[in-house]
Symmetry: C2
Subunit: 500 residues, 2 copies
Amino acid sequence: MATSSLAPPEVPMELHTGNRDRLITALRAHLSATASPPRGLALLQGGEEQTRHCTDHLELFRQESYFAYLFGVREPGFYGAIDIASGQSILFAPRLPPDYAVWMGEIKPLSHFKDRYKVDLVFYVDEIVQVLQDRFSEHGKPLLFLLYGKSADSGNYSKPASFEGIEKFETDLGTLHPILTECRVIKSEMELALIQYANDVSSEAHIEVMRQAKPGMKEYQLESIFLHHSYRHGACRHCSYTCICATGENSSILHYGHTAAPNDRTLNDGDMALMDMGAEYNFYGSDITCSYPINGKFNSNQTIVYNAVLKAHNAVISHMQPGVKWIDMHKLAEQTILESLKKEKIIHGDIADMMARRLGAVFMPHGLGHLLGIDTHDPGGYPEGLERPNEPGLSSLRTIRELKEGMVITVEPGCYFIDALLRPARDDPISSKFFNWEEIEKYKSFGGVRIESDLYVTGQGCKNLTNCPREIWEIEAVMAGAPWPPHAAATKAENGLPKA
Amino acid sequence: MATSSLAPPEVPMELHTGNRDRLITALRAHLSATASPPRGLALLQGGEEQTRHCTDHLELFRQESYFAYLFGVREPGFYGAIDIASGQSILFAPRLPPDYAVWMGEIKPLSHFKDRYKVDLVFYVDEIVQVLQDRFSEHGKPLLFLLYGKSADSGNYSKPASFEGIEKFETDLGTLHPILTECRVIKSEMELALIQYANDVSSEAHIEVMRQAKPGMKEYQLESIFLHHSYRHGACRHCSYTCICATGENSSILHYGHTAAPNDRTLNDGDMALMDMGAEYNFYGSDITCSYPINGKFNSNQTIVYNAVLKAHNAVISHMQPGVKWIDMHKLAEQTILESLKKEKIIHGDIADMMARRLGAVFMPHGLGHLLGIDTHDPGGYPEGLERPNEPGLSSLRTIRELKEGMVITVEPGCYFIDALLRPARDDPISSKFFNWEEIEKYKSFGGVRIESDLYVTGQGCKNLTNCPREIWEIEAVMAGAPWPPHAAATKAENGLPKA
Ligand SMILES: [Mn+2]
Ligand SMILES: [Mn+2]
């Protein structure tokens, strides 16, 4: 039976007040720098509950991320505004029909939301035009800064707030998105605490999975154990993303686990497992990958690939600090992996030459890591002026920024044996020469290894928020029943009186 | 540690072939009856994967229900067609980009889908115009029957298939929806087997929750236990609906458990729990409610309300058979509950008078039950010509049809003490006289009780697909650790040799 040391923390609404303060400061600085009047309101529309197709099946609602960042509101149907001059925050709550009380729960008075979300004013959504006109027109038609901008990850545009009567206001679509996105890049201490907690939950749940995994089980049973541990003990109802529970050859499918590849394989003795799973707590997420053999003992091929990736993971972490360029960290990871593969004679030739030909991307086609926060792929990876590279591997990078203190970023090097990438490498007469195809043949159905931790960039270096066994001996010990973290057991032993 | 007797069954694709055959038969009959040519194709568009707002966060995809019914396709992005004259079935699969193989998994050849889904032909979505024109134009422009109609539950309209070039075809929006909906109302044996399995999983998971529930736990921990048991042991990744884990006063909130009322209360000694949770297996669902005291022992008030509801539940089931009108079953449940409440002096006066004044709806504001299948609220409750009643309680009925052999319908009477309904009843001088307000005061924070089973209408009566302890003594025994189902233990004892 699983035990747990987790205690779901209270979430201070000052976290979101602080987020709003950072936006106000940034907006004022921007308006001042562009010699614009320090006026107007940032206006955002929260998410709406969705039904499935034409039915009345309600999907479990999760707040839109920018709105969650600023207001922390968990309920659907809200709008929120922040007055730049005064700093006042205003929520607009949906006016619920009387029978909501019977079907959905108590209809809370506006004062409830004012207290709960620590905003200055609360009105109903249907009062939005009047409130904005009555209270914020001293300098003429109020100017509304709406959220409109492109996600560098999805290519989709955020939908600016809309409501009946919006044409009565001046609106600005270009200012808010980049500024608010940049606010989200640097995490406050309170945000960090939640990301740390999500990491604590996920680390513990990963260990629970690791301990229960056995040949004969199904991948989805491992998913279920993770979800249950995170929810039951960690109070995490949502995950940051659909669990990737990939075993055997599936572990080379980077985003395995979705409906068309639904974690339904049977675990075999001798398989590697690649478990990429992260819980979310009060909107803030985690993103952790553990790789290990299902039978609890690394064989020699598994040891080779695993240690190649672990070395890259550790090398990156030891180099991370403010000012370091993420693209250089990516290349460091690639190079470290290539060097290990060369040592094992899986590849041969000049590493610098291979790097120049971007052959690292054959083994690691994804980026080294991404900003993490309210979204798994948190926005801000490519602020205006920073272009996504075109070259193989580098083009997958979700950011190429310089690290800054306060960023949270994942470090997730991987090494995979992917037919769809090895085939063209073999067909190309120049690149083909770098590979020892006979040796690679031995890894044909190996799949891949990924090791992913969540890192907080500090003033001098970085702090690993993830706490999972990473060394092979640690993993084997934990899978055999040893306590984790090890010092917990040590502490207990120290504190216990010796038996007489 | 939970054990389980569950073994997730293989899903025969003949189930969906059979569903298509029923549609073809019904469409041919309709065309013949309206003296229309027996030609054209039913064309449906499957669901698309959705990202969350502007991000690249993919929601776990679940197929649109009408499409799932006909084709059983779990992957997003498909179209499907059925030729009425020949009976041929055609799937159109999305053409995936080459890098899908790296990120999402193997790009399956069209033959894979032909084999897996047992259809006659498979093409790519981008070939749809050409295929329909080339193969189905012998009688002129092919006529496409598209799915367009209103859900009686949500009031939303299904979105007819659309694709570039659709204007090259004649289209019919009115015919398909009512006919296909009616097909879904009567379940085949293979459909029934899946609904039975979903019931088996859910019944077992409910019992696991019941056994683990203890004062001091959180409601969401009960939800987590249900989800885990259903997924780990039952292979059910989806639930039919968001779990309602309502304890104490929350049990009078009919659709508790959503994001704004998220199963986050602490369980107290003395609380009733109302657990409305159902797993889904291969699209087919279940919908089960168990009500019981968290501390495992019914007190006298709990006994009174519980037994009132159980009597109604059992009375309805004993009356169900083809030809019985569902609205009469609803009234039977109301009347049975009112009689019990009168016996306990919670209300007084003439029951027929109360029924005429629709006072049963004060205690049971929802409908007695609904069709169940691929949707929790399966469509077909109000076919053309059947109008939803207006009166309190009756207006909540999701169907007022006559029962037919092959229907699966939930029986879910409830009795709640809901402020928002008791207040107006008290304020009304006529209705107020029927209530013993002093007695009702004792149930102020009671919440409510609901007992919900899934029933299959047979030729002579009905079959209960749900297998949960329902009698108070059974519940108390199971919560105290007695085996369930009881005969499982009995069987084991019978088979075991007596100890010498
Ligand atoms: Mn990641
Ligand atoms: Mn129901």
